[in-house]
């Protein structure tokens, strides 16, 4: 049985969660379902766009099923949606109640400060994980249903990568909120970091001297390994997870040390 605080956190996030889950599921289903109709258009798009642009967008080819899924679900809009969901929800664990004053009545919950932070995070992380797992889970159903020629193990690997990517940024967002208690700071720092590391990964593939940049980008560990073609890369997934775990742990420790609500 989840604790009262965990249930309260879910209840307060319910509307937002349902909205994100429906949006992410609809996006995944619609894009995947239109694979056959889009083939002509995809070919045109691929021929019309210069190769540099395709590289930047992380699109290797849009014609094969794996290339199509990579281009539509996994390269830009999918991560964008689930990261926006994760970052806005993680900003609610500590920063939002601290800013709107509801924190005091949450924090009188008879648990230690670290346990409080841990329970708030656990509730939100579980919810965010479900949303982030939706594209992968849906694709495991849709890919065989539509008859796309991709190994399901590869689909699962890409779906897991999206979850690991979200854990990475959720941890970072939690850390920022736990330390600053400012919602705008969580959104700005984590959002800018996501965009900047996305760009770093994209640019590193285009310019010869900048190849090293990709190692700094969570997006490289998520999609740079090309899981839809090459399958599981446990090292990359563990790296993303480790960033999430470490930033979370630091966040809990620093939250335990500071004044709340000043």
């Amino acid at each position: 049985m989840p604790t009262a605080l965990v249930r309260k956190t879910w209840r307060d996030d319910r509307r937002a969660l349902i909205g994100w889950a429906v949006g992410v599921a609809a996006f995944t289903t619609v894009y995947t379902g239109f694979y056959s109709q889009f083939q002509g258009a995809a070919q045109l798009k691929q021929e019309a766009l210069p190769q540099g642009m395709l590289d930047f967008l992380g699109i290797a080819d849009m014609l094969s099923p794996a290339g199509y899924l990579q281009a539509t679900i996994f390269s830009l809009i999918g991560p964008l949606l689930v990261l926006m969901c994760a970052i806005t929800l993680i900003a609610r664990t500590i920063a939002r109640p601290e800013e709107d004053g509801g924190m005091e009545l949450l924090l009188v919950n008879p648990v230690s400060r670290p346990a409080f932070a841990g329970q708030r995070l656990a509730a939100t992380a579980a919810a965010v994980t479900v949303v982030a797992a939706l594209p992968g889970l849906l694709l495991l159903l849709l890919v065989p249903a539509i008859g796309l020629d991709i190994a399901l193990s590869n689909v699962a690997a890409a779906g897991a990568g999206l979850v690991a990517l979200v854990w990475c940024f959720t941890g970072i967002g939690f850390l920022v909120g736990a330390v600053t208690g400012k919602r705008a700071t969580v959104l700005a720092v984590t959002g800018v970091l996501a965009v900047a590391t996305y760009m770093a990964n994209a640019i590193s593939g285009m310019a010869d001297g900048l190849g090293w940049l990709r190692w700094l980008s969570p997006f490289h560990y998520f999609i740079g390994t090309d899981p839809l073609h090459t399958g599981w890369h446990p090292g990359a997934l563990l790296t993303l997870t480790a960033v999430g775990v470490v930033t979370t742990a630091i966040g809990v420790v620093l939250f335990d040390r500071r004044d709340v609500g000043v």
């Binding site: 309260k8 949450l106 924090l107 008879p110 648990v111 500071r258 004044d259 709340v260």
Partner: protein, 308 residues
């Protein structure tokens, strides 16, 4: 540290950057006592309360609440505390009922009849979302969550704010009941009248410093009262100006006005030499006299003596 103290602070100090919140606070609240914590806005009441609850960490000094360390023993301590925030804001969009069930569950289960009793006493409808409630009704929900688990220590920050006079009376009755049940109450206010009738003692803070701790009974004795005496014939002011405790003597013909600090006896004895037609003694207005005595600078010297 003795176990009969519900709250103990030693040199408790909190600075916000360079700005003083409270400084050098030495305070003891006995178990089972109702302590009023008085001071004008900005005196440091909320800061002190947040230190007791471990929301803020002291810049200096220490505090023990119910014999526990607020930080190390937060979980055990908060189970035994009922807290009403001074700036009341509720998390989420729940109805009052759902919110109170959350507080009850979080504190290990609370008899629901206790909640409905309190809601009945305070006349609040729990089926409405708290967000849509008036300030007064929100305050009532805040009070219910503070009292519902019958905590050993109630820490109430400006509990009567937003309550109409009738509900203020009901709240004071709740405090008396809590006291009868052996609970300790530490409640802040910037108005003495709100705590005067229930508190055993009041602690007074100004500019972040504790200036006095007094038993409530002794407040009246200290109060300065305005006295007006009507004589049959004009009187000589010199007969009254040197009396102990008597000041601001103004005589216009047969009417004398003055202020008396403490007992009236010397003034009455002096007046008895003349034929007295009428005597008016204004009720000591504790608000006006006692508090201004401490709140404003002329009281500071005496206050420091009291503190030492």
């Amino acid at each position: 540290m003795t176990s009969d103290l519900a709250v103990l602070t030693e040199d408790l100090t909190k600075f916000y950057g360079d700005h003083r919140g409270v400084e050098g606070l030495n305070l003891e609240v006995g178990t089972g006592e109702v302590m009023g914590f008085l001071g004008p806005n900005g005196a440091g009441k909320t800061t002190t309360i947040r230190l007791l609850l471990d929301f803020l960490r002291p810049s200096r000094g220490r505090t023990a609440v119910l014999g526990l360390d607020p930080r190390r023993d937060k979980a055990a301590l908060h189970r035994q505390i009922g807290y009403l925030p001074g700036e009341l804001a509720f998390p989420g969009r729940d109805t009052a009922e759902d919110l109170l069930r959350f507080f009850g569950d979080a504190r290990g289960g609370v008899a629901w009849s206790k909640v409905t009793d309190l809601a009945g006493r305070l006349e609040v409808d729990l089926s409405r979302p708290v967000r849509t409630m008036s300030k007064g009704n929100k305050q009532k929900v805040g009070l219910i969550q503070a009292f519902m688990h019958e905590p050993a220590l109630l820490i109430l920050d400006e509990p009567t704010s937003g309550l109409d006079p009738l509900m203020q009376q009901e709240f004071l009755a709740m405090v008396r009941d809590a006291r009868s049940a052996g609970q300790t109450v530490f409640m802040s206010s910037h108005v003495l009248a709100e705590v005067q009738h229930v508190a055993d003692r009041v602690a007074i803070v100004r500019d972040g410093r504790l200036v006095a701790v007094e038993r409530v009974e002794s407040l009246g004795r200290r109060a300065v009262r305005a006295v007006e005496i009507h004589f049959h014939d004009p009187v000589d002011p010199a007969d009254f100006t040197d009396l102990p405790g008597v000041s601001d003597v103004v005589v216009s013909g047969p009417v004398l006005t003055c202020t008396v600090d403490g007992r009236l006896d010397p003034l009455i004895k002096a007046a008895a030499r003349y034929e007295v037609v009428d005597l008016l003694s204004a009720e000591p207005d504790l608000e006006e006299t006692f508090l201004s005595f401490y709140y404003h600078s002329e009281g500071a010297g005496d206050a420091h003596r009291t503190r030492a």
